[in-house]
Subunit: 386 residues, 2 copies
Amino acid sequence: MKPSDLLSSLLPPAARPGDLLSAVDSPALLLDLDAFERNVRQMQAAADSAGLALRPHAKAHKCVAIAQAQMRAGAVGICCQKVSEAIPFVAAGIPDILVSNELIGEAKARLLAALAGHARMSVCVDHEQQVEQLAQACEQAGSRLELLVEINIGQDRCGVADAPAVLRLVEVIAQYAGQLRFKGLQAYQGGLQHVRGAEVRREAVLRATERARLVVRDLLDEGIACETVTGGGTGSAAFDLGLGLYTELQPGSYVFMDADYGRNETADDGLRFEHSLLLASRVMSEGTGDRAVLDAGLKSLSAESGMPWVWEAGSPSERWDYVSANDEHGILQCRTPGGAKPRLGEQVLLVPGHCDPTLNLHDAIVAHRAGRVEAVWAIEARGLSR
Amino acid sequence: MKPSDLLSSLLPPAARPGDLLSAVDSPALLLDLDAFERNVRQMQAAADSAGLALRPHAKAHKCVAIAQAQMRAGAVGICCQKVSEAIPFVAAGIPDILVSNELIGEAKARLLAALAGHARMSVCVDHEQQVEQLAQACEQAGSRLELLVEINIGQDRCGVADAPAVLRLVEVIAQYAGQLRFKGLQAYQGGLQHVRGAEVRREAVLRATERARLVVRDLLDEGIACETVTGGGTGSAAFDLGLGLYTELQPGSYVFMDADYGRNETADDGLRFEHSLLLASRVMSEGTGDRAVLDAGLKSLSAESGMPWVWEAGSPSERWDYVSANDEHGILQCRTPGGAKPRLGEQVLLVPGHCDPTLNLHDAIVAHRAGRVEAVWAIEARGLSR
């Protein structure tokens, strides 16, 4: 018997449509469809009201069914963070994908040029070597790409510094007019997204985007119009919407809201998203003293942005904390010494600390409504990091 | 075209046998076969000399080819940490597997009982409810399981406290003699493995295992012999070997040696393993100042036990540090201001901070020798955390 046969014959899916949510095998990712759909609608409505395009980031979910829901709600396309990540979305017919990141190397350029034969593809650049590799790959594939020059607005990660640097790349792009087209700018600052205080975050967004505004103005002075200025995220979206800078926003986590984003203060006039993403775990050992042992650790959730929240009746638990994550174990602790612990075998729901790398650990997500499983969606781009 | 077809038609493997190591697409896990084979032989020889069985932990690698190499070297079987993790190893013909962990719930008990129809399977328990579920599942499947009672030797995670608690479980197990057999004890303390100083670690091992020794003696006084006492890990193995307590050791990380284990001081008379596991990344953006941007972040390596080391010519780099990990980016920084940075597109090798959750992010590992790819091994149990 081949391993794949024994696997499929012995390991059933964590859940099947119609199952009670409480019966889902553990660990398993859960998606509250009502909350998810409200999140999708709220962000789309906010972008629509502001007259901006919404291009949700698929690096947060890596799931075709979620991208399709975002497209049905009105998204213009999606972002991916790696070229390989885009493959299942292209294959599923998502028509317009921005790889919102630089890529280097012939293998990656060839892959992107091949995808551009199936969908409208765009990608970021910050160096002429990337531009030249992409042009060569497109020439070989007979396809075309749109390029956004990334500008550094304070993350000090990727991106060029100023308008002259953008202009130099625009000139290189213009040399390959048969293959490449300059589409505009990407201006994204990840660090801003998690500034806790709403007013502090608003001011940080204004400062960072001022850099982008100057580049756009300087380019216009040189006769270069940016058809697209893309950026923004779940933490900054409430402020990005009214800047008059972006033509397109690319938030990702808003569909889920992880515990890290839950720690952000929401602006008075801001967007309020709901926690739709949970991880179902179980008490696998009674543990000692005020601790119980859960069957979900670092291989089921990402803890680098803080521990998950224990979730009870739609809120963070007031009696239990998830205090430490081993590879395959999580330690739950009672806040009050001598407090009641969940019993052996009991399901314990968790809000993951950071959604993006958590989704990347799972092959499927269990979509549920009103206490019943409605569907099990594949996370097709899980592991596609090349 | 189905997503799976487009995926396989467009995304080639990261490497093919015969490729130059320097040409491997990134990010990709690499295994130095010479170092790996020396690690496997050294641990096996140490166990053989001490007259102990070696049952390497497959939660570290999740890879059938690696388990098969360990079996060829003389291992008696392997450990898995979750019942689903065992499936690909059973399917590949590994004849003897300990699920070195408790499990709860009918679905998991049924799966383990089904696997016991294909291989000799054992599992840990620390509560009679687990025993009863396993007995029932075995009765339905017509299979048999061997049970080890886990004892808590200071981790304060799973495990019972003392000999009377073991005896109570032995009595429950004895009620299901047609399905279950008491095999012995598991006594494992994960926290000990990473105590940095060799002598401090040795003393901590002696203290923790003294608890286990007392339980074994008390059980013998009651006429209960432990055929197997299993435990130990990569950090404690040098000390576990000579204790006269364990009959079997279950280290996992020794095959790879991650940066976290690299920070342990090796005992004078201890085992010295080599760093065989690397992650191939690339400079995807020149970055700003003394920083360059790599294409490998939290979705390609686990950073919860510290950042990876940059690896040059067989040693930790003396000029570059990997200082921060975003989802799909890593920041490399020069130690000396104004120092040379790796150039755009250059391959940068990293020693992951923590091997187990890093392997769980990848579908394959590129096995190489003398600068050439020798094989690409599937990581079949990746993601199997149920």
